[in-house]
Symmetry: C2
Subunit: 393 residues, 2 copies
């Protein structure tokens, strides 16, 4: 069954009437479809579907419209009926709970948070300068900032009652990932302490709405988690199960995938802590790479974000047009919020020898983005100074 | 200057084109206008404008639409330009602050709360059975429940920095109240502890939106306080000043008006604590008073709310069709939230001798609504069992 939400979305973008999804059960097999009609995204992979906006588009708004919000999928995009969704809460809880979506929204107070979601693999393509890594070759656009609405995870967990010994909270989606002939849903996991955060900006949400509208299928309709400050992989889409446990989830995407390791070594990977928080980072979005520069001054724009530690602020953003010999401080043009990016602008002096632009951010703890990012086997958390090459007219 | 918001609202209700507001500075003198065109409200007073919905209309929705939300004014309804609004924070603070509205919304994270606002004088008309009191003669409709959005008071106070000795937070509006030839704005005041509440349901807001849309002029456009659990008089409309102090506000509506006293005695009033929290209460809204009953069973509907203590829930709602000899438990049909009313329904057995219907609520602490409410001079906090008379067919 093709949900109304899915079909509506498909037909908005580029008037692509005639694209119909072949569905298996309640799931849409993206591999048997044309790529979705999303106007503002560059497709990085068709199956599973992964796409990011062009960088100048990305920073047009502090709140990223859904049409220019990156999409990260690991499997099918399930086509779900909100009326039929059930969410189960089980594991190390005093009482297991099952909610229909309407019950969930009625039982708990509404909560809103603005949070930036970024893929741990954002800027992965830049590792190629050292040594190319596998995976989706993201430019710097696998990031977006949205207003999410739903209920708080902590309220649901409190009703279930946390048993002693609990340390982690697992999330499971309803997509279908195929990995070495196994089929299973995407899963995430966060430490219990994070899940119990009750603060306005830090509370994790079970979200049903993005920027005031129901989630689109690509972003997890009808229900997903939002974990402020954590890599996007922990904000699990198409959520239907929350499990409280004494250890991180054994799901492939917690146990094996999102880890910073020097090589493919099962023993080493098993011992490595999963990535949770995102990192201090920044990127130049305007002008676009390869732009022609002329004159004595150039307006440069981009984004910056701190790591996922509560209370960290972007303290300074520096832009250089001479390879890092001199730096010009950028001005923040957006709101400043915990767990949200900032947008910035700088008018930078350029000369006839300017061939690239660089940016680096400093946070309120004094941490500075490193010039070089150490290579890692799976290509995560690239946060070296962002460089774009430009041409002279 | 007549704001666009004000004129749009005026012209919606009953097509009353031609009603123009005479304005003095940035204020609209309601006395020189026809009453506003609000379709779903019964006007209790034209100047200042006070109106409540018919009770069957009141409980059509758990979230009260703005058109059936009671209006309580004490003076003019100012016609304000959101771009020109400034909010000043001063008094016992480390640093006085002044914000334009856009700055306020950009500086602090967005926060949403659903909260019931009720006038301390709601059900005042029922005191007449003992001895009539002055003031607006409210039926039980001076209550409503809305989703408010804005920023948290606590975040603004933290930025200003609270000095030692601070105990209360004052709010001042921009309306013009005339009292014994004095002209002054309406003011409210809440204890500091309440103002610093950071919880999801308990945090006070500086609100700009009601049910997803900008506040209407009657409800405080562009900025008002929302204090969950407190009488409506503490949720000050048309806000432009917050003052931190060691005592409650000296404003007339804190110092003199909203107090439960047995007589008009200045010394006694000065010594009496202002009313802050609302009280355990309930009312029958369907059928309407005077309705004709027939048959053996009658469907009765209404609302109930606990007092403003955090965590209190409505435990039980009892309806009687025989003067209180037997009671039927009602069923709650709405979400249950801190600081929000619940809606309820009950099918009650009726006989040929049924001449009235009664309701009473019990909260989770075991407190039961009293059969009779003691009379007080200013007619506040009436919360005796709600009774409506009905006729036999």
């Amino acid at each position: 069954m093709l949900s109304r939400q899915l079909s509506r979305r498909r037909f908005i973008g580029q008037g692509s009437i005639g694209i119909l999804a072949l569905t298996i059960g309640t799931r849409t097999a993206r591999s048997q479809q044309a790529p979705p009609a999303v106007a503002d995204l560059i497709t990085r992979q068709i199956t599973p579907f992964n796409a990011e906006p062009p960088l100048p588009k990305l920073i047009e708004n502090w709140i990223t419209p859904v049409n220019s919000f990156f999409v990260r999928s690991h499997g099918t995009v399930p086509s779900l009926d909100a009326k039929e969704l059930t969410l189960t809460v089980d594991g190390l809880v005093e009482r297991s709970l099952t909610f229909r979506l309407a019950e969930l929204l009625e039982r708990f107070p509404a909560a809103t948070t603005t949070a930036t979601i970024t893929c741990a693999g954002n800027r992965r393509a830049e590792f190629a300068a050292i040594k190319k890594v596998g995976g989706v070759q993201w430019d710097a656009g696998a990031i977006g900032n949205a207003e999410w609405q739903g209920v708080r995870l902590v309220d649901v967990l409190k009703l279930a009652g946390i048993k002693s010994g609990a340390r982690h909270v697992w999330f499971e989606g309803q997509d279908e990932v195929t990995e070495k002939d196994n089929k299973f849903p995407f899963g995430g996991s966060i430490p219990l302490e994070k899940a119990l955060d009750e603060s306005l900006t830090g509370a994790s949400l079970l979200a049903t709405r993005m920027n005031g509208k129901p989630l689109t299928p690509d972003h997890g309709f009808p229900l997903r988690t939002i974990v402020p400050g954590f890599i996007g992989a922990r904000s699990v889409k198409w959520l239907n199960r929350i499990t409280v446990a004494d250890r991180p989830s054994p799901n492939h995407f917690v146990a094996d995938v999102y880890k910073v390791v020097p090589e493919e070594n099962a023993e080493l990977i098993a011992k490595t802590t999963p990535i949770y928080e995102f990192m201090l980072n920044s990127a130049i979005c305007v002008p676009a790479a390869g732009a022609t520069v002329a004159g004595h001054s150039l307006n440069v724009k981009g984004f910056a974000l701190t790591n996922g530690t509560k209370g960290r602020k972007v303290q300074q953003i520096d832009v250089s047009a001479d390879g890092g010999m001199t730096w010009k401080a950028a001005k923040v043009t957006s709101p400043v919020r915990d767990f949200c990016w900032v947008l910035w602008t700088a008018d930078v002096p350029v000369t006839a020898t300017t061939s690239s632009l660089l940016v680096r951010a400093t946070d309120s703890s004094g941490e500075v983005q490193p010039e070089k990012c150490p290579w890692n086997y799976k290509g995560y958390q690239f946060n070296g100074w962002h460089k774009i090459n430009v041409k002279q007219s």
